[in-house]
């Protein structure tokens, strides 16, 4: 497959140049891993006049932790997330999520920031960023600011990012004290597939439970009502039955080529129940090791 739309390509080595190019060219596209963008160029879903490759910009591939905040730079790939010691120590569930993304040759190239900029509803990063109440660090070259992830996604393949702006990275708020997490991804088969539904849970003694679902609404959703309910109720068979009923109000899945609406609703309930149980076990130092495929 060839790319029909003609464009120019520039690989700047500093951010100043990137923003200059973005301001001069209304039809420019930023390129990081390209695993989504190249496909979209081939299918003519986007027709830029200029591709700005940001891979030569130094410092964007860092994973940094300080004072309960984890920063993941714009060029950090899913493979980097899997092998990062910082992630393994501070929030291994991010590694558990990264391991479910596509396959090795895609993970070597695809970045987490690219994933949330593509904003395809079945993305893997969305639910995880929601439970860690992440902020997206955006810059226009003059200043930098944080956008809470709940305000980031506008719809399928739509974010609030403007044409002259670039995402520098994401910041995750790591709960104080011990915490545990679980990420589950439902696919049609083991191995490389896009998600039919995803569920992310983190749990800590101080900050309670946080829950988010992906691939079951136009954007990833945070299940605030269920989180509030769990503040006042312990996990047992009865409360789990009630939580499962509440799931239906939190999500709005569609029928598509990968699954029916009914199947998605049913499976999100099953996944949430299992995730809560595993998160609870992990918080108490037991449970299956991180990186396990739970389904």
């Amino acid at each position: 497959m060839t790319i029909i739309n003609d464009f120019d390509y520039i690989r700047p080595t500093n951010l100043k140049e990137v923003f200059k190019l973005l301001n001069q060219n209304k039809l420019a596209k930023l390129l990081a891993g390209g695993t989504d963008l190249i496909g979209n160029l081939k299918e003519e879903m986007v027709k830029p006049k200029l591709i700005i490759d940001i891979k030569s910009i130094k410092g964007l591939n860092k994973i940094k932790y300080a004072q309960n905040e984890l920063f993941i730079g714009a060029l950090v790939t899913f493979d980097d997330l899997i092998h990062s010691k910082v992630i393994m120590n501070k929030c291994p569930v991010v590694m558990e999520m990264a391991k479910t993304v596509a396959s090795k040759a895609i993970r070597n190239r695809a970045t987490m920031v690219g994933n949330i900029c593509s904003a395809v509803p079945c993305m893997d990063s969305g639910a995880i960023l929601h439970v860690y109440e992440a902020s997206v660090v955006v810059s226009d070259g003059k200043k930098k600011w944080d956008v809470p992830v709940k305000k980031w996604f506008k719809g399928p393949r739509k974010t609030i990012l403007k044409k002259n702006e670039m995402v520098m990275g994401v910041k995750l708020a790591i709960p104080k004290g011990n915490h545990s997490g679980v990420y589950m991804k439902l696919g049609r088969y083991k191995g490389e597939d896009l998600a039919q539904a995803t569920c992310a849970v983190i749990m800590s003694k101080k900050e309670g439970v946080k829950i988010s679902f992906g691939s079951v609404a136009p954007t990833p959703v945070r299940a605030i009502t269920i989180e509030k309910f769990l503040k006042n109720n312990l996990l047992n068979d009865q409360t789990i039955a009630e939580i499962k009923k509440m799931v239906e109000n939190e999500i709005s899945p569609i029928d598509d080529i990968r699954a029916s609406k009914e199947y998605r609703i049913h499976m999100v309930k099953v996944m949430l129940e299992r995730s809560l149980k595993i998160a609870h076990e992990r918080l108490n130092g037991a449970g299956v090791v991180y990186g396990t495929n739970h389904l």
Partner: protein, 154 residues
Amino acid sequence: MKKEITVKINGEKRKIEVRPTEILLDVLRDTLGLKSPKCGCGRGDCGTCAVLLNGKSVKSCLVLAIEVDKQEVTTLEGLMNDGLLEVQEKMLEGNSFQCGFCAPGFVVMSHELLEENPKPTKEEIKEALSGNLCRCTGYTPILEAVEKTCGCKE
């Protein structure tokens, strides 16, 4: 407009002219005559175009040729500079392929896996090869060949 790029391909420094819109896979095959990577799906699903970029596997149908300027690309031809790889010997012994279209991708991915993790479990082998499709064999003989190469049990 064509631009000149410098790439280290299979250990050899090459200067080539590419258009910004050209895909790495097409340049490898049509400009450089390296026919081991193949176009199966052209959208990153089938893995038969896998090559190593700076030692890490990528799907060359999802990379622009111009992106690999000043980088190092290794195709299966390059991995075979000293003859067949051990995993290929095992694949031959076990008659792992039928039509063979997917074989280069599987060999490249197996090679990367065994470099990164010389003693993978069966599950890790499956995971490493999960981005590659084979329509002939049902995968078992391919997985068995990798298992034999690394002497893995469970």
